[in-house]
């Protein structure tokens, strides 16, 4: 075991995978010599050579399109999109090509690619470095969508993603790269080295895609969250003193519906939290599923705490970011309903 940040865990996952399978290649903007703007790929080019880890032109559609071609050949490309916000030029390649190649060719061709992309806000990234586009992917059949919340999961899930035979969107909450973040932006950040989930095996291990994890046991209300919001939800539960059960989804598609249903059936209340905007966000899907499967157990309407239906602002970031105070108010509201 070693103490790792999420950056180091992500890097370790690629390192382990490249070492085990010579068909794994890593490329993207600035990922080669420099090691990526967040240094997630640092050292990989030096270790594996520049034909297995290399810089790409600033062309996201080109990056994803070539990755699809490489996958059709038999490689396993693990690609970095520098920010999730830059994914849009590649959206056609992701959603209409990568996602459907297996289906449309009846398995004659497949597309085992991983698209890593830093996601979410809380770093004063403004409108173009803060987005959470997961709902744009969860609506697409053929993709898998993962959002880890800690170094241990990030490594195990990324190795699973690289070994997965289908295209996987791997959304890395950039606010968690160096430490868990509970939304209290005025406080110093505690590093991952002081968190139990920063203790990461150096070798190979996997975490199954499609399995949620209960981060906090509780009996009064279920909070469904993922990524940075897991830590915000945990903080809100502690600060309100409400006996909340906090589910970390880890994988949005496929979704661990059983864990959600079991928890809400037990608690009878549910709050859904995500950073992305409210309308048609992934929370809408979660609320629908809870309503569909837990209606007769519900004791209060299901509530969503999300980003607002506006672009992500720069100066007012902390009023946009769903912090523990907003989640706490929602918990109280649901308990009083």
């Amino acid at each position: 075991m070693a103490r790792m940040t999420m950056i180091e865990a992500v890097r370790s996952a690629m390192d382990v995978s490249m070492g085990r399978d010579e068909n794994v290649v890593v490329f993207g903007e600035d990922v080669g010599y420099f090691g990526g703007v967040f240094r997630c790929t640092q050292g990989l080019q030096a270790k594996y050579g520049k034909t297995r880890c290399f810089d790409a032109p600033i062309s996201e559609s080109g990056i994803v399109g070539t990755a699809i071609g490489m996958a059709a050949y038999g490689l396993k490309p693990c690609v970095e999109i520098q920010f999730a916000d830059y994914m849009y030029p590649a959206y056609d390649q992701i959603t209409q090509e990568a996602a459907r190649i297996r289906y449309r060719s009846n398995g004659d061709f497949t597309c085992p690619i991983v698209l890593r992309m830093p996601t979410g806000g809380g770093i004063f990234g403004g409108q173009t470095h803060s987005q959470s586009p997961e709902a744009l992917f969860t609506h697409v059949c053929g993709l898998k969508v993962i959002v880890p919340s800690n170094p241990y999961d990030a490594k195990g899930l990324l190795i699973s993603a690289i070994e997965d035979p289908d295209p996987v969107m791997f959304l890395e909450p950039k606010r968690l790269y160096n430490g868990p973040f509970d939304g209290h932006h005025e406080r110093p950040v505690t590093p991952w080295s002081k968190h139990e989930l920063g203790d990461v095996p150096e070798g190979h291990y996997t975490i199954p895609i499609g399995k949620a994890e209960i981060r906090r046991k509780g009996s009064a209300v279920t909070v469904v969250a993922y990524g940075t919001m897991v830590h915000v939800a945990l903080a809100a539960a502690e600060e309100t003193g409400i006996d909340a059960e906090v589910i970390d989804l880890r994988s949005l598609l496929p979704l661990d519906l059983d864990t959600i249903v079991q928890s809400v059936t037990k608690t009878g209340r549910c709050v859904v939290v995500h950073e992305a905007t409210l309308t048609s966000g992934f929370g809408a899907e979660l609320v629908s599923l809870v309503q569909e499967h837990c209606f007769y157990h519900l004791e209060a309407p299901v509530v969503r705490v999300t980003g607002w239906d506006t672009p992500y602002p720069h100066a007012q970031e902390w009023d946009y970011f769903p912090g523990p105070a907003r989640v706490g108010r929602a918990l109280t509201e649901v308990m009083e309903a």
Partner: protein, 410 residues
């Protein structure tokens, strides 16, 4: 205040519209045999003029002339003629089948048969094409079973795509034919990725990307050229300039670049224009480009100058946007008739044998169609299972799709 005139937008228009006299005086056609054949390791900057000329081998008398001639034997040329005739007969039958309601849609190759049929012969087993919807000749020239193509078109119980794909969107890894996307240009950059992978693995196989003149306006076209140029990918980047992108003439996508091939020059990619209705020229240029790729010399861009004689698809009516007789005025002629004439000039063929072959080929296509129809057509006979809707979205079916399949009763 400025004393300049007000600005106005330039919107290109084709020379002629329906009711007018066809006019191809703007297509500058050099004499057959007049364009030099450079060595494959030539510096791209030394052959810039090839992006503005047209490489031709067959002259008006049916003779093969010039430095690009002499690569194919009689037997190979007869095979090529047969492939083109087969594709034409296949088109005719499938067009009729669509009109009879046996399928929803079809796209024919009329006038463009030489491009894909000749190109395929320059590739080797294991190479990979990333085609568009008008390169079925790649399959026919590789002896892919015609019945399978028809099964796909009819979306019947034996459709290799299990009824999931639009007709003519074939797939065959074994025959080097990547699953076709209806979204334009996406496959162009995928071809570059496949070629890069082959180079990463120090393999010997090469890739070919395909695009139409209109789709060169898509950003993926430019992405493909950037990646191909940057990494010197072993890929042949084909542009089939058939003059029409549905109803939009090629001048709309071309802009001020002069030719589509010229777009390769800015990327440092050797770019050649070839007479797309000349089987021998297409083969010669494709082989030149394939040799460059195999010798690790990087990508080549080829523009095939041809003409889409038929409609864009069975949903299109070309008489609404171009003169009805325009195809007859196309100055580069008919690829089948030109190769036929050449073989007759060589003494390897005759009018009688051609007529006989036409009848035999049509009979072969009809027999294939009968075999395919045993497995059903779109609205009659055997169909893929409804269960096939749910299969194959992922390697392993996730719980939510399984629940939906069960809800559908399967």
């Amino acid at each position: 205040m400025s004393d300049l005139d007000r600005l106005s937008l330039h919107v290109p228009e084709p020379a002629v519209r329906p009711g007018g006299q066809p006019d191809f005086s703007n297509v500058k056609i050099p004499k057959a045999g007049s364009v030099p054949r450079p060595e494959v390791d030539v510096a791209p900057e030394d052959i810039r003029d090839l992006a503005f000329s047209i490489i031709r081998v067959l002259n008006r008398d049916g003779e093969a002339v010039g430095p690009w001639a002499g690569l194919l034997s009689d037997a190979e040329l007869l095979a090529g003629l047969r492939h083109m005739m087969m594709l034409r007969a296949f088109d005719a039958r499938m067009l009729m089948a669509q009109r009879q309601g046996k399928t929803s849609f079809y796209m024919q190759h009329l006038g463009e048969e030489a491009v894909s049929c000749a190109f395929r012969r320059a590739l080797r087993k294991g190479d990979m094409n990333f085609p568009t919807y008008r390169q079925a000749g790649l399959l026919i020239a590789d002896d892919y079973p015609m019945v399978e193509m028809m099964n796909q078109i009819f979306s019947n119980e034996s459709d290799p795509c299990h009824g999931r794909q639009l007709p003519v969107m074939y797939t065959s890894k074994e025959h080097g034919f990547f699953t076709i996307s209806g979204n334009l240009a996406t496959q162009y950059v995928q071809a570059v990725g496949w070629a890069m992978a082959s180079a990463i693995k120090n393999d010997t196989r090469i890739a070919a990307g395909w695009i139409g003149d209109g789709s060169t306006a898509e950003s993926d076209f430019h992405s493909a050229l950037v990646f191909a140029s940057t990494y010197r990918a072993p890929v042949i980047l084909n542009i089939v300039n058939n003059q029409w992108a549905i109803s939009t003439f090629q001048g709309i996508a071309r802009g001020g670049s002069g030719t589509f091939a010229a777009r390769g020059l800015g990327f440092g990619i050797p770019a050649l224009r070839v007479d797309g209705n000349d089987y021998l020229a297409v083969y010669a240029v494709a082989r030149w480009a394939a040799e460059r790729a195999r010798r690790n010399l990087g990508p080549t861009l080829i523009e095939y100058v041809t003409y889409r004689v038929g409609a864009h698809s069975t949903s299109d009516d070309p008489s609404a946007y171009r003169p009805k007789t325009e195809s007859e005025a196309w100055p580069l002629g008919d690829p089948v008739l030109r190769l036929k004439k050449h073989l007759i000039v060589r003494g390897a063929w005759s009018e009688e044998r051609h007529a006989q072959a036409e009848a035999e080929i049509m009979d072969e296509v009809i027999q294939a169609q009968k075999k395919a129809e045993i497995h059903g057509t779109l609205h009659a006979g055997g169909k893929p299972s409804v269960r096939d809707i749910f299969e194959g979205v992922y390697a392993e079916m996730p719980p939510h799709i399984r629940r939906q399949r069960q809800k559908a009763g399967y």
